[in-house]
């Protein structure tokens, strides 16, 4: 359940960056291969924001797919699976993107 620590990190960064601001909405980017479960982040968000400037804020999460390159056949392909499987059948793939874990923006009143 590292999503709790991840979500706490998000709230900390935002409250430090925008002290006192009434935050209405938060937009995150969590790549499909980041190792972070977006549903768990959503679950933690309301708990962690309670009593902070982010209380009641909505949460939008962009989930970019994983891009991988097969080390066997060289094909570039998309995968949302933590263990990307190339169409050729090989699981030996280099991850090119999809590991993003970023705070994109916040909307404040």
């Amino acid at each position: 359940m590292h999503e709790l620590a991840i979500t706490q990190g998000v709230v900390e960064t935002i409250t430090e960056r925008l002290p006192g601001a009434r935050v209405r909405a938060v937009r995150l980017e969590i790549g499909a291969l980041s190792g972070v479960v977006t549903d768990s982040v959503r679950f933690c968000f309301d708990l962690v924001t309670e009593g902070t400037n982010l209380a009641g804020a909505s949460l939008d999460i962009d989930e970019p797919p994983g891009r991988c390159r097969c080390r066997g056949c060289g094909l570039e392909f998309s995968s949302a699976d933590a263990l990307p499987l190339c169409p050729c059948g090989s699981a030996d793939a280099e991850v090119l993107s999809g590991q993003e874990l970023r705070i994109i923006s916040v909307r404040v009143a």
């Binding site: 359940m1 590292h2 990190g9 960056r17 263990l83 030996d92 970023r102 923006s105 916040v106």
Partner: protein, 256 residues
């Protein structure tokens, strides 16, 4: 142009005061909406704080020529037993300090302390992993001498510790033969960044149906550069390879 939203840097963009060297070009500018709310573009990595402390830890260690290994595995794979054996076998040679991470109790710290290692216990409570700030406090408390070895025993968990850099010199993942051969594929995040995979408890192999060749192939597919060492703290098999690997790391740190 803003890389996040594509807006141009005209009068609708308000720059906030820069707040440090990590400021990005797109960071902190705002978009005003018709309802009076404004959107502030942040573009910050969620783990930025942890990673910055990890870099500080790594610099601190490098300045002293200290090697720090981050040992990770599921609970019961044999991390503490390997630390005890390593502490005993290398006693009189390299100075070893240990950072023990567990949710509760100082049981592991006592075990490792009993073989003569300096040790600090970090109890994470509800936390499921060590982070760079915890390790920074542990390093301050341990104050490891130049040229020594710091072994970090992370919280037993094949998921969460994978995401948190500690500033370690290398990542060591343990998998015991009793856990079966499919761990690298089930927990690819953990194995993807492993520098060394230790297959533990190989003295039990006669009683198990596990395909270690399959295991090695799966490790290679998620982490092609990872080295694999099979060992047993009961028979002593493979321990020399483990100690040689540590010595190579220490030699590299000494040269740097």
């Amino acid at each position: 142009m803003c890389a996040t939203c594509g807006c141009s840097a005209d009068s609708t963009v308000i720059r906030l005061t820069a707040d440090g060297p990590e400021q990005r070009a797109a960071d902190g500018h705002e978009h005003l909406a018709a309802d009076g709310s404004r959107t502030v573009v942040l573009q910050r990595r969620v783990l930025e704080k942890n990673d910055a402390i990890a870099v500080r830890n790594a610099t601190w260690l490098a300045d002293r020529g200290v090697v720090m290994l981050n040992l990770m595995s599921s609970p019961g794979a044999g991390k503490t037993t390997l630390l005890e054996r390593t502490g005993r076998d290398l006693a009189g040679g390299q100075v070893i300090a240990v950072i023990e991470g567990d949710q509760e109790t100082a049981l592991d710290a006592r075990r490792v302390s009993a073989v003569g290692c300096r040790v600090v216990q970090i109890n994470t409570g509800a936390g499921c992993h060590l982070d760079a700030a915890m390790v920074a406090r542990g390093l301050t408390a341990l104050d490891p001498p130049a040229g020594s070895l710091v072994l970090v025993e992370n919280v037993g968990n094949l998921v969460c510790p994978a995401l948190f850099d500690l500033g370690e010199s290398a990542r060591v993942v343990l998998a015991s033969v009793t856990e079966g051969q499919d761990k690298p594929l089930k927990y690819p995040h953990m194995f993807r960044r492993a520098d060394l995979v230790l297959v533990t408890k190989v003295d039990l192999l006669p009683y198990l149906d596990i395909d270690l060749a399959r295991f090695a192939a799966d490790v290679a597919s998620v982490s092609p550069a990872a080295r694999i060492v099979e060992l047993s703290t009961v028979t002593g098999a493979g321990l020399t390879d483990w100690y040689d690997w540590i010595a190579d790391r220490a030699a590299a740190a000494g040269r740097a």
